[in-house]
């Protein structure tokens, strides 16, 4: 037995030594600690239900949620984030928020018809509701106080204008979710102000499929000069496709995440049309706090635009500061 214990002691110390030696000198969680905490308010705690149509595990919605949570922390708000991509399911979440008698509801209206009944019910129950991200044409009729987001078609037009300015050739507009009204509107906007765009559909939840579809398209059509993706993760995949197809095409995208920012800085991605998701989440929660504590409303009955803003190598450093 003693021999075994000696072996185990040796093994343990070897493991400890390995573990110490294995510490990375760069990156990792430790280097990311120490975010600045904002000053707080001393208003009584309120509960806000934050209800989106996010697919689980989407980087865009992480940013919306991060903005919402930061605003919640600052305003002494208890944030209850829920999401359901199916219209009926998301609508039911609003009903639940009413059941729970929350103090405020922030909701995305990607499927306005499905949401209408329960949002109106919430307004009827005197719960302040603000809309964000989607539903620019419908939020007001439902009785929501404010809207934070960008018009998808306008953002598409802005991207199209930029492509026209850059004298781009044939451009792929990559739609990652068949049957998504907002994504269709973006490509429609692009087509309005730029005449050489072509839509292709990929399955956003399946990375391998996204890459192989774009690769195949690039291999088949050598005249493509730009690939325009509608979400940051897809821009990163499109870069791989461009390499694989040994194409000369440049990649541009809608929306951002940290990795895409680095790529814009490094020149791997040309530019991004940003709708500032963090701002959407932050503003939604902040405006509810204003409503409950100060009786204020934001936007004066008009949508508050959080985009489109172009991010390219000229201004990317501003966003990379943190």
């Amino acid at each position: 037995m003693s021999r075994f214990s000696r072996v185990s002691v040796a093994a343990t110390s070897a493991m400890a030594a390995l573990a110490l030696a294995a510490c990375s000198s760069s990156g990792g969680k430790q280097t990311e600690e120490g975010g600045g905490s904002a000053g707080g308010v001393d208003t009584p705690e309120m509960t806000v239900a934050f209800i989106t149509h996010a697919e689980p595990g989407d980087t865009f919605w992480d940013q919306v949620r991060a903005g919402a949570e930061d605003a919640a922390k600052k305003n002494n708000v208890k944030l209850e984030y829920t999401a359901n991509p199916e219209g009926a399911g998301q609508s039911n979440l609003v009903q639940q928020a009413v059941d729970k008698k929350v103090d405020g509801i922030a909701v995305t209206l990607a499927k306005p018809e499905a949401m209408k009944g329960n949002v109106e019910k919430a307004v009827g129950a005197d719960i302040p509701v603000v809309a964000l991200n989607a539903g620019m044409n419908e939020w007001k009729d439902m009785g929501a106080l404010s809207f934070f987001g960008q018009d998808d078609e306008l953002a598409g037009e802005a991207a199209g204008e930029r492509l026209t300015e850059e004298k781009a050739g044939k451009t792929l507009c990559v739609i990652q979710e068949q049957g998504h009204v907002g994504l269709e509107a973006r490509c429609k906007g692009v087509a309005k102000t730029f005449d050489k765009s072509e839509k292709i559909y990929v399955k956003g939840t399946d990375t391998a499929n996204v890459q192989s579809t774009i690769t195949a398209k690039l291999q088949q059509d050598k005249s493509i000069t730009h690939v325009l993706t509608l979400g940051a993760p897809f821009a990163l995949i499109a870069q791989k496709s461009v390499k694989e197809a040994s194409s000369e095409a440049k990649v541009a995208t809608f929306d951002l995440n940290d990795e895409a920012l680095k790529q814009i800085k490094g020149g791997g991605i040309e530019w991004a049309v940003d709708q500032q998701p963090y701002v959407q989440g932050y503003q939604a929660v902040d405006s509810l706090w204003l409503r409950v504590n100060k009786g204020a409303s934001v936007g004066g009955g008009e949508p508050s635009f959080t985009g489109p803003a172009f991010v390219d190598d000229k201004n990317v450093d501003l966003l990379l500061e943190d």
Binding site: E86, G87, D99, K111, A114, E177, G179, E184
Partner: protein
Amino acid sequence: MTAQTAAPEADDRVVAKGRAGLLFARPEVGALIGALAVMALFLAVAPSFRSLGNTGTILYEASAIGVMAVGVSLLMVGGEFDLSTGVAATASGICAALTAWNFGLNVWIGVLAALVFSLLVGAFNGWLLMRTGLPSFLVTLGTFFVLQGANLAVTRLVGGTVSTPTISDMDGYASAQQVFAWSVSVGPVTIKSLVVYWLVMVVVGSLVLQRTQIGNWIFAVGGDAAAARAVGVPVTRVKIGLFMTVGFCAWMLGMHLLFSYQVMQSGEGVGQEFIYIIAAVVGGCLLTGGYGSVVGAALGALIFGMTRMGINYAGWNVDWFFTFLGVMLLLATLVNLYVKKKADAR
């Protein structure tokens, strides 16, 4: 546990089991225990779960699964599977909306067209299955893909976008809405129409399965189709009928979704089919067929609804939702298995 005082020469297969034994031999007992456990858990941790007024929301969430689970559980007792159920409900709603809108007809004509369409899809599934002898898993997987694509393609072709055009300003819409999407307040509880239809379907389905010759046939074809055929059970007709029942359930759900939410989103319903199957399995239906119950599937749907809503009412982080659901399902099915073993051992 019950002391059997049977005469020694009696055959043990026909010995009366006693009340407790009979109760525990029911397929839905495991689900009942599971449902009570889930209820107790959320009553303890979620204050909003305790308020009576929210019962309506929970029941509604359960009914959206339960309506489909009625047909799916009957089908599974009959020894078959249907993977096309989720998109079939969406397809039915789309069919009604587009038929009415495109040809400018009364909305009720669209509703009838959708019923015919859903029954035909079911009949086609059953017919192809019996004609080819392929497993139902494959046949309905094919149907699932076909419908998923058609939902999107046809909606865009006819309406120009990915959700169906608005039909709320057309003749017959108001009356159809009163039939498929009414809701009534009983004290603090709001009961939606789908909940009532679900309960009616559960009662009818259960009576048919337990008390009629057709019910016996369903058990027989699920247990052993060849033997059933040998004793004169019309196997082909029973199976096609079961798939058509599923089609009817899809129509019911599709109509409710269309008239409560006014438009159908063409991409929805994908992935729901497994939830219906799981509700049936939690309710005691065997994946191999020949055993199960409609009431059990209703309890399975209720467990699902309570879990979904309970996590939210408790204010837990939704990131964990599916993990929690998975654990819940495993526990429920293990309880099922345990109860069944106990019952068989008696």
